[in-house]
């Protein structure tokens, strides 16, 4: 798997490097040329978002390419590795971007002395950790779902298979969401409950009274996570079977 990952990275190295360079230049420009703090925040978040979208799309394109590429199809490697490799690539890239964002955010919060967000994080460390893990899982889960739709579309040799893939994707996402709601009452895991807790009070955006809350892990959330995990494993199984028996180069 590491070998496949290496070659996936090598193929996309120019693009990834380009995104990194543009991101750095954009952040430097924002830092040096802008004074309005609101504008700085908006533009900074926008550049990170654009970089994130590119890094999210890159593994999807890589997977789609690998499914059809002769030199990849001919390799004596298990089909599961073909699926995992671009997911790992996308995850690593987005993780690095996320870490850069966090460091940048921490520097910003320290420089501008915005203690409100730091206070929230310190008060709810478990929620912070769960939220970060949740974000990681959402990324992986989304990659698996998109890859399943691509695999199904590629395994159909007819006109309009692209659209079939898109329809399949939305059916899967909405179907799972509906089932999740039905089974676990729509329990989301890893959100700062402080934002929803009406018993907290604030003046001019600064928290003046915050109620102590227990960590937000509940049975429903764990159930929801296990449900998504089981679905993802099932999706991987279906993809492996489709790649081995239906997807043709």
């Amino acid at each position: 798997m590491m070998k496949l990952l290496k070659y996936d990275f090598k193929r996309n190295s120019a693009k990834l490097l380009g995104v990194a360079v543009v991101l750095i230049l954009a952040q430097l420009s924002i830092m040096l040329l802008m004074n309005d703090i609101t504008l700085i925040i908006v533009i900074t978040l926008l550049t990170y978002m654009i970089a994130g979208v590119i890094l999210f799309i890159t593994p999807i394109r890589t997977y789609s390419y690998n499914l059809k590429a002769y030199h990849r199809k001919l390799l004596p490697v298990h089909s599961l590795k073909t699926i995992i490799s671009p997911i790992a690539m996308g995850f690593i890239c987005l993780l690095i971007l996320g870490l850069i964002m966090l460091i940048h955010g921490y520097v910003y919060l320290t420089v501008y002395d915005n203690t409100q967000i730091l206070y929230i994080i310190k008060t709810y460390p478990m929620d912070t950790i769960i939220s970060l893990l949740s974000a990681c899982w959402i990324i992986i889960n989304m990659f698996i779902t998109i890859f399943l739709a691509i695999t199904i579309a590629t395994s159909i040799r007819s006109k309009g298979s692209f659209w079939i893939g898109i329809v399949v994707f939305f059916i899967i996402v909405n179907g799972l969401s509906w089932l999740d709601n039905l089974l676990f009452g729509g329990a989301e895991w890893g959100f700062f409950r402080i934002f929803a807790d009406e018993s907290n009070s604030s003046v001019n955006g600064v928290l003046t009274n915050m109620n102590s809350l227990q960590t937000s892990i509940s049975g429903g959330m764990i159930g929801s996570f296990i449900f998504e995990l089981v679905c993802s494993v099932a999706f991987l199984y279906v993809m492996v079977k489709l790649i081995d028996r239906k997807v043709e180069a």
């Binding site: 070998k3 070659y7 090598k10 193929r11 190295s13 120019a14 002769y70 030199h71 199809k73 001919l74 390799l75 004596p76 490697v77 298990h78 040799r157 081995d244 028996r245 239906k246 043709e248 180069a249």
Partner: protein, 232 residues
Amino acid sequence: MSSLLQMNSITKSYGSKFALNDVSLEIGPGKIVGLLGSNGSGKSTLMKMVTGLLQPTRGTLTVTGLPVGLKSKALVSFMPDRPLTESWMKVRDAITFFQEFYDDFDIVKAREMLQFMKLNESDRVSVLSKGMSERLQLTLALSRDARLYLLDEPIGGVDPVARGKILDAIVEYYNEDSSIIISTHLVRDIERIFDEVVFIREGEIVMHEEVENIRIKYGKSVDDMFKEVYAE
């Protein structure tokens, strides 16, 4: 003698169109087999099926008794009609790629072949001419100690000098315990290296003979026989 390749009643259809129709074929070890047919006769489809790039609609297919899959991919070396390399690669990267993924890749043989083919390891794959690119693809395919080699049109689109060079390389570098299937419609240039020929027309095998038998039985060269079979 057990067969290297066994195809039983293989059919490949796309809707109502048959790319291969009820094809049965058996290839033993130690043979150079010519898979001959005009454009669109099903040569490439047959090869892609043996390598697992395409799945048969009906029928069974085995390589050394193994069904086509993960294990058979390690035994079959394929030079397809499109590059086995990526545009960012240099010749050196392509060699490393094969070395890393195929246990049977012989790096010494690869370096020897690169020299024979006059290819530089530092050359970018994307700037190679068609002839040089085909030489590289052939180097990659033949540098493996595979049981079955499949070469899809290895001399298509290259000049006569390059053709001679490629044919010499095939004869010199292929593993003699293995078999090699070469698809082509340029019969005259290549018939000298064949032990057997398979004539395929509109997805059906119309003849499978040893070259010697064609000469003795029919008193014709393979090229003459090809023209007779495919006369319109």
